[in-house]
Symmetry: C2
Subunit: 416 residues, 2 copies
């Protein structure tokens, strides 16, 4: 152990971090090298227990709230100061990888271990946080643990969410012993910095190892529907049909064009396509498509929304009515300036080639940012692939990201 001058850049123990990532990945390991550790299952409990054991051994006290969010606290010199937290989630997709979420949790724990190693006392407490059910794979919606924490969802609503086998989230939480008694949100945070793999290709494509996030893209989800008249594929002449498929086909390029006009930060995805009744020899009576529009700028996202609505209105005919239902709207998030500053300062001293960027995906930090100053750090993942068993990142990348995290946390928590 080296006692380091507080002004210098602090290092972490990359081998310990990596060996813990690999140890955690054994819980729910899949044959193809991924992880299936669905929220609030016995495997999730094993992962949580392992985290709590490590945090306790590192001298932390453990606090669990009513949503099963876990706060592992390393005390600070000022017991009245709000904790500087870092965290993410331990649950995975059914065919998930070793790093999505888990990296953020174990990096936060590594920050605490490193502070111990360097024998540094911070002014504010430092916490490593595990947020419940980020993935939404077992219980929808996603990010429900941080969502209840920030007041987006009621606790009763969350408890009543059911998985495919009609098990409620509340009963699953009790069954694994992680239903704490403290009201969600009562445990306040002074700041929340989340380290995460990018889950996209930008850093890798630019050969950059660190992304400092300024915010998260706003997202709008729609269901687009075109109605026609179901009829047999043989007897009806083409001109007598009310076929919704050609209408959808002519709409799709114009929908992508909305994103193109909105510049390189815009995204447009049609992930779901359906024709009903879905029979080779039946002209569909209805076709539907999901539309996912994203932009980090609320005004531009608003323009994209207006363009889509105009397009749908002008495409609708009596013959084949076109309709658009908005399913979800998550406004863009702008992270806290002081958090961005602390992360940028840390990154500048360790890896000056870092880039500023926005997250295209949602994270627990989106909800946490509503109630605490929040920031995020990205490291690359191989080929931009995530939510996949081949999700991968390198030990050096995990170490670099966690080193930036440690120094940003220290800047915020301050040396006592």
């Amino acid at each position: 152990m080296t006692k380091t001058s507080p002004s210098a850049t602090l290092s972490i123990n990359g081998e310990r971090l990596w060996s813990r990532l690999m140890e955690m990945a054994k819980i729910g390991a899949t044959a193809k090298g991924g992880v299936c550790r669905l929220a609030l299952t016995d495997l999730d409990k094993q992962g949580r227990d392992l985290f709590c054991d490590w945090a306790t051994e590192a001298g932390c006290t453990i606090h669990v709230d009513a949503m099963g969010n876990i706060f592992a606290r390393r005390p600070g010199a000022d017991s009245d100061a709000l904790p500087i937290a870092s965290g993410s989630h331990l649950d995975t997709q059914p065919t998930g990888g070793k790093f999505d979420g888990v990296l953020g949790v174990l990096a936060a724990l590594e920050v605490i271990e490193s502070l111990n190693d360097h024998e540094i006392t911070t002014k504010a407490p430092v916490e490593a946080v595990v947020w419940t059910n980020e993935e939404g794979a077992r219980f929808t919606p996603a990010m429900i643990g941080s969502g209840v924490y920030c007041g987006e969802f009621d606790l009763d609503y969350a408890y009543a969410r059911e998985d495919d086998e009609q098990t409620t989230l509340g009963s699953a939480l009790a069954a694994i012993g992680y239903k704490g008694s403290t009201a969600c949100g009562a445990h306040k945070l002074g700041a929340h910095i989340e380290l995460h793999i990018e889950q996209g290709p930008i850093l890798e494509a630019e050969d950059t190892e660190i992304g400092v996030l300024t915010g998260v893209q706003g997202i709008r989800w729609y269901e687009l529907a075109v109605d026609g008249a179901e009829t047999h594929a043989g007897p009806s002449p083409m001109k007598m049909r009310k076929d919704p498929v050609p209408v959808l086909a002519s709409l799709l390029p114009e929908i992508y064009a909305i994103a193109e006009r909105a510049g390189e930060d815009a995204r447009c995805t049609v992930g779901v396509l359906n024709a009903s009744p879905g029979s080779t020899n039946t002209v569909p009576g209805r076709v539907t498509a999901s539309v996912d529009l994203r932009h980090p700028d609320a005004a531009i996202l608003g323009s994209m929304d207006a363009e889509l609505r105009d397009l749908v209105a002008s495409s609708s005919t009596e013959r084949c009515p076109v309709s658009l239902a908005e399913i979800w709207h998550s406004p863009p998030v702008t992270f806290d300036e002081s958090c961005i500053q602390s992360i940028s300062k840390a990154a500048a001293s360790i890896y000056p080639e870092f880039r500023m960027m926005v997250s295209g995906a949602g994270h627990d930090s989106v909800y946490v940012s509503r109630v605490a100053p929040t920031g995020m750090i990205f490291i690359p993942c191989k080929d931009g692939i995530s939510h996949n068993e081949i999700e991968d990142t390198k030990p050096d990348q995990a170490t670099l990201g966690t080193t930036v995290l440690l120094n940003a946390i220290l800047d915020l928590a301050k040396v006592a």
Copy 2:
């Protein structure tokens, strides 16, 4: 009963026909006015039993072959002559109507009843036929009873077909007591005339009550697939994606254009659309679409096929490969000239405004035409709607079609 001169146009008993159509529709009647009488169920057995009772009362002998196809014979003067048959099917879609198939069976029975009423002895025997499992709703493929009869399918293959509950067609046939011992196809037919509702809008649109069919459209089925790379809807910039949806969207109008260039007898239907994995926030890794191309002229259908293959080949890129798998090919059918003549002659004397047309849908007559001279008659159905509980046709239309059928059959069977 009126004894009519053989040279005059014979009439049928429209009230008897209609009351039997309504009586049969009670077996499997649905709340919405349709019929659910899936092949080889207890309801199908009840329908078959009712048909056999009526046919027996009309003096017919009943013959059931190994596929459960039922032949009810009214003897002719020449016991060596092959029977002039007419028939269709009694099974329905799960939400089917009262007329699809059933009309053809009960009209054939009405032909026999009318010959009795008019006390006419024909030279050749006259038969009313029930073909097994035309719809393909319980056991795929469709038209398997006539298909085995004509040699398209092996009997063993047919017996081994399973429904959704793993019941085989062979065991279902035995369970309802309609597994006959005669080899399929051994019971030869001198001709086969099928009366059917059009299942399309042409007759109604042209205000014409009778269609005389020259044949059945050729059909080619394909699965079109576009591959891309599954990725998260947020992080990946548009230019870095391999999104198969825009590729499919640009292909679809060109596929419909193939049918447009091939003239008004051509049909193109995209009935199935799928995006995989089918998640709003995931760029699909693969999209698929069914393509159903039809034309009554084999050469033109062949050109459409070639155009589709060229289009797919020229659209495929390394970034998003496009592939086309042919699923099924049913060549166009040209009905027998003498059958068309007999039907046209009968129609001309009863309803001179009849039109010649081709069937866009498959029927038992497609398979039967391979082993016996075959023809078909269409009457309109309301709004061209079929395979639907609201399927409808008028008593006068059923009477008119059956009158044409009777006179065509008499022309073929000849008065003794």
